[in-house]
């Protein structure tokens, strides 16, 4: 698998470059040499930052860029797995109702005024997401076997139900609360902290490793469940593992970022168009691609109407859709899950 190594190296380089670019973008101009000195150490790059600039770089931008990378990675990987598993090109991380469960948790905590304790909103969002996963799998897996159409439909219905409760909360909320709620629903990374990255990081990396270890099974499942079974895949066990880990990953990243749409839909398609259907390649490259895409989108979100910012979800969709259409036009609309 020399291709995996080469593509992963390319992806890592792109992620590193986008990260540094994102660190250099924001309402306050910072010297590039100062940023590099701070990131790489002063021996490698001359230049320095004064305490205020360092505080902006280290306490505001760096945690945000790290978290953005992790979130982009998680969303893209979830998208790759779900599109294959559900054999549906429209699948994306939010299709199982995880997003609305997380939103319900987050908005409830905001409505109850939990904002004066740090971390309550991410925690509530994560619990909401996990509750929804249990609910969807519980309903759809009731008869022992995990049938993907059933999972998908249950997810859609649960999603619709929770969305109605979310709208109820929104309509009953005071104006001041409404703003933070809307920002959460659009996807908001401006509150990024190191502790958020610490909360998401280990879980997200762990999930990625587990999913990658299932890459061969994912490839075989793409040939159809019966074929996969004949080739020695423990189909039900594998599907359940993939679903649960993907759901955990989505819940984790959504809890700290809100609902950032489109990353989990478009990045998987892009890497698939570029690299073909092999998940041993798709998963690591998709992860890095998601990180690159979201870091760049967020850098743009922070500069477009500086010093205010556009919700990053607006940028991902506005940027992603035309680019995607362009690619569809040049490369042809081929969908091949396996």
């Amino acid at each position: 698998m020399r291709g995996v190594l080469a593509w992963t190296l390319i992806g890592l380089t792109a992620a590193g470059l986008s990260g540094i670019l994102a660190l250099g973008t924001g309402p306050t101009p910072l010297e590039w040499r100062g940023i590099l000195a701070q990131v790489l150490g002063e021996r490698l790059a001359g230049g320095s930052l004064d305490p205020t600039e360092r505080s902006i770089l280290v306490e505001i931008r760096l945690p945000r860029v790290l978290l953005t990378g992790l979130v982009g990675m998680g969303l893209a990987v979830s998208g790759v797995v779900l599109q294959s598993l559900l054999r549906n090109p429209l699948a994306e991380p939010f299709v199982l109702g995880i997003s609305s469960g997380a939103a319900l948790g987050a908005l409830s905590s905001m409505a109850l005024g939990a904002g004066f304790l740090p971390f309550t909103t991410p925690l509530a969002a994560f619990l909401g997401a996990m509750g929804t996963v249990a609910l969807v799998l519980g309903i759809s897996g009731g008869r022992g076997r995990l049938e993907m159409t059933r999972v998908l439909l249950t997810g859609v219905i649960v999603n619709a139900f929770f969305t109605s409760i979310i709208m109820l909360i929104l309509s009953l909320s005071r104006a001041e609360q409404l703003h933070s709620m809307m920002f959460w629903l659009y996807g908001d990374l401006s509150g990024a902290r190191y502790s958020h990255a610490g909360f998401v990081g280990p879980g997200a990396i762990g999930a990625l490793v587990i999913l990658w270890s299932q890459a061969r099974n994912l490839n075989l499942l793409g040939l159809g469940e019966r074929t996969a079974m004949q080739l020695g895949v423990q189909v039900d066990r594998s599907k359940l593992l993939l679903l649960v880990v993907t759901a955990l990953l989505t819940g984790l990243v959504v809890s700290v970022s809100g609902l950032i749409g489109f990353v989990g839909l478009i990045v998987p398609h892009l890497v698939r168009m570029l690299l073909g259907p092999d998940h041993r390649l798709l998963l690591p490259v998709g992860a890095l691609g998601g990180a690159v895409f979201l870091m760049l989108a967020d850098a743009l979100a922070r500069t477009l109407i500086s010093p205010s910012e556009v919700p990053v979800g607006v940028v991902t969709a506005a940027l992603g859709a035309p680019f995607f259409i362009l690619l569809l036009g040049t490369r042809g609309a081929r969908w091949n899950p396996s």
Binding site: P27, T52, G115, E176, S308
Partner: protein
């Protein structure tokens, strides 16, 4: 939320810092802010960021023109405040823009600014003083503690007594008159009005009116048209949110409902929302305007 308690604390505090101020010329100040936290200042602040339009108005009214280095969006008064660097909207602050201004004091509002963001500012070593004026009385207290904090005690005292005198004058001149039934609309679709226990409710009372929505509960209740008809307001006042044309349209919308006394007698008025929604010294002008709307003859 513990207003009485807060007032007592503020009184004790002003006595204490009066004493300290006489002794140490205002340096090494330690004050309790209106969220109940101790805030220390080593010198009179010279670079202040105001995290709400109302706070900027208060600062300029205290003559702090030079010291205000950053304001939030929608800060529009006085005009020179509007041209100061912006640090995002008060409900969604741009932390980086605030830090970059290197302020030695950040003035926040307890109800408007997101608490998580205020916490972040403090973690980054900025001095944040939280204000929480919820009533006219609260606004006077806020102005006094700002005076304390910024070494402008005399200006604050003079400003507050000027405001109090004007308000008292208006109140007294209307005291003996019959109180028309007033409805103050703050939002159009859905229809939201000022209920009991709001600054607007208090202002209507001072301006010689009776707020018909005060019976509907505290805060800002949502109303159906049916309910408005049964409340039968004699005066409807529309508080405009920035856009006067929208308010005119709102005025026309009421015209269909002739059974409402205010509509029948053509007593629907628009008032500049900034004058009555913001806890700032301009609220006196808002009161004056309310009074002339509710009692046009006097």
């Amino acid at each position: 939320m513990g207003k009485a308690h807060w007032k007592k604390g503020a009184l004790g505090l002003s006595l204490l810092s009066w004493f300290l101020g006489a002794q140490a010329a205002g340096f090494g100040l330690e004050l309790t802010d209106e969220a109940g936290r101790r805030v220390q200042l080593t010198a009179v602040p010279s670079r202040i960021v105001a995290l709400a339009p109302s706070i900027a108005e208060c600062l300029f009214a205290l003559g702090m023109d030079q010291e205000v280095v950053g304001v939030t969006e929608h800060t529009n008064f006085p005009p020179q405040a509007a041209s100061r660097p912006k640090v995002g909207s008060y409900v969604h602050l741009q932390l980086e823009a605030i830090v970059a201004l290197r302020p030695d004091l950040v003035l926040a509002t307890r109800d408007g600014n997101p608490r998580e963001q205020i916490r972040r500012l403090e973690e980054m070593g900025l001095t944040v003083f939280v204000l929480d004026p919820r009533s006219l009385e609260g606004l006077f207290n806020t102005l006094m503690s700002l005076g304390e904090l910024l070494g402008r005690k005399e200006q604050a005292g003079a400003l507050v007594s000027r405001m109090q005198e004007r308000m008292e004058g208006i109140r007294r001149s209307l005291e003996a008159k019959a109180r028309p039934r007033v409805l103050l609309q703050v939002g159009a679709q859905p229809l939201v009005v000022a209920g009991a226990d709001t600054v607007q409710d208090h202002l209507i009372g001072l301006a010689g009116g009776h707020n018909v929505a005060s019976s509907l509960g505290r805060g800002y209740p949502m109303l159906s048209l049916e309910r408005v008809m049964s409340l039968a307001p004699e005066v409807i006042i529309i508080s405009s949110m920035a856009d006067p044309r929208g308010a005119e349209e709102e005025k026309n919308r009421w015209k269909r409902w002739k059974s409402i006394p205010a509509v029948k007698n053509d007593r629907i008025h628009v008032i500049d929302g900034d004058l009555i929604d913001r806890p700032s010294p301009r609220v006196v002008e808002g009161l004056q305007e309310l009074a002339s709307i509710i009692h046009p003859q006097s």
